[in-house]
């Protein structure tokens, strides 16, 4: 099995673990973590697929991952502040519609 395929499959695994966590957990912090695991998986798949090349890796996906990393950090920060807001208003870090 070629090396890129191995890394891409590990990335797929991370994506799936994250997706499972996102669906199963109701605690918003856990969901945020799950979302981050998912996006790490996507980045890994991207970087792996950029290496389907005997020479240097394709720089375009690498640049896109670099962009994505920074965006995901800022999105996480905004999400965490929103979670704190939910916690303050409802006393629990769970969305009201999930709180059955």
């Amino acid at each position: 099995m070629s090396q890129y395929l191995w890394y891409a499959l590990v990335g797929t695994g991370l994506f799936s673990i994250g997706l499972l966590g996102l669906i199963l957990h109701r605690h918003l912090l856990r969901r945020m973590l799950a979302l981050n695991v998912m996006s790490t998986g996507v980045f890994m798949i991207f970087v792996a697929l950029a290496n389907r090349n005997s020479a240097l890796p394709d720089p375009v996906p690498l640049a896109m991952v670099l962009t994505g990393l920074v965006v995901s950090v800022s999105a996480t920060a905004l999400g965490l502040v929103l979670i704190e807001k939910v916690q303050r208003q409802h006393g629990t870090p769970v969305l009201p519609e999930d709180d059955a």
């Binding site: 395929l5 797929t12 994506f15 669906i23 090349n53 670099l66 800022s74 905004l78 870090p93």
Partner: protein, 227 residues
């Protein structure tokens, strides 16, 4: 305290959804050609016109400058969102102090600032550039903010707010200037491309670092402080 309860139906749906999506992904990745140079050839061929020797930097700041401009704007927008939600809670009365932390920060902060400059410069010909440099500087900012909040009294000032928009502002100015001069946005003249990219990257580094440091506090500075 939330105790996670998994309802059997949710678990069943989750397992089905995740299995299907995993299989689809594996199938999609497996069906890709094992050997594909992607856009490497085009990037290498045009590298000489980009003003830098590093391929990733050329893609980020020149070939796909739009993406990077919008990305810096996304960062700023996220910060505005965080500010809108309320004031921050970390105050100068709750520093994480101690001999080890104090000395580490005293030693590390100058080193991190130095390495930031180096990584920024490195971006012109190797792996490096505004985002890596900005992240490093933000790391220094977060450390200082936690251990010595009084060092960052600047944070509440208008100067600091200027720093937050420096990156997007320089980027937009360069883009608009190029549009006036050459008629197309974000297309640099070949002989000045290198310096323009360095200018944008330097401003973006400061803005990215400032924005990430502010995002870490999770709220807007106290109203009226430092004006």
């Amino acid at each position: 305290m939330v105790i996670e309860r998994y309802r059997p139906f949710t678990v069943m749906v989750a397992v089905v959804v995740v299995t299907v999506s995993t299989l689809l992904l594996v199938w999609a990745i497996g069906s890709l050609p094992p050997e594909s140079p992607g856009l490497s050839a085009q990037v290498s061929a045009n590298l000489i016109n980009s003003g830098v020797q590093a391929e990733v930097t050329a893609v980020l700041l020149n070939f796909r400058g739009y993406d990077t401009l919008l990305e810096v704007s996304v960062l700023l927008t996220a910060l505005l969102g965080v500010w809108y939600l309320g004031p921050f809670h970390i105050t100068s009365d709750t520093p994480v102090s101690g001999l080890v932390m104090d000395n580490m920060v005293r030693f590390l902060t100058p080193v991190m600032i130095l390495v930031t400059g180096y990584v920024l410069w490195l971006g012109s010909h190797a792996a490096g550039g505004a985002f890596q440099a900005g992240a490093l500087l933000a790391g220094a900012g977060v450390l200082v903010q936690v251990v010595r909040p009084e060092w960052l009294a600047l944070r509440d000032s208008r100067t600091f707010r200027g720093l937050l928009i420096a990156g997007p502002a320089v980027f937009v100015l360069v883009a608009a200037g190029m549009m006036l001069l050459s008629g197309s946005m974000l297309e640099y003249p070949r002989e000045h491309a290198g310096s323009l990219i360095l200018l944008i990257e330097a401003a973006s580094t400061l803005s990215i670092a400032a924005i990430l440091t502010m995002l870490f506090t999770g709220g807007r500075p106290h109203p009226g402080a430092g004006n």
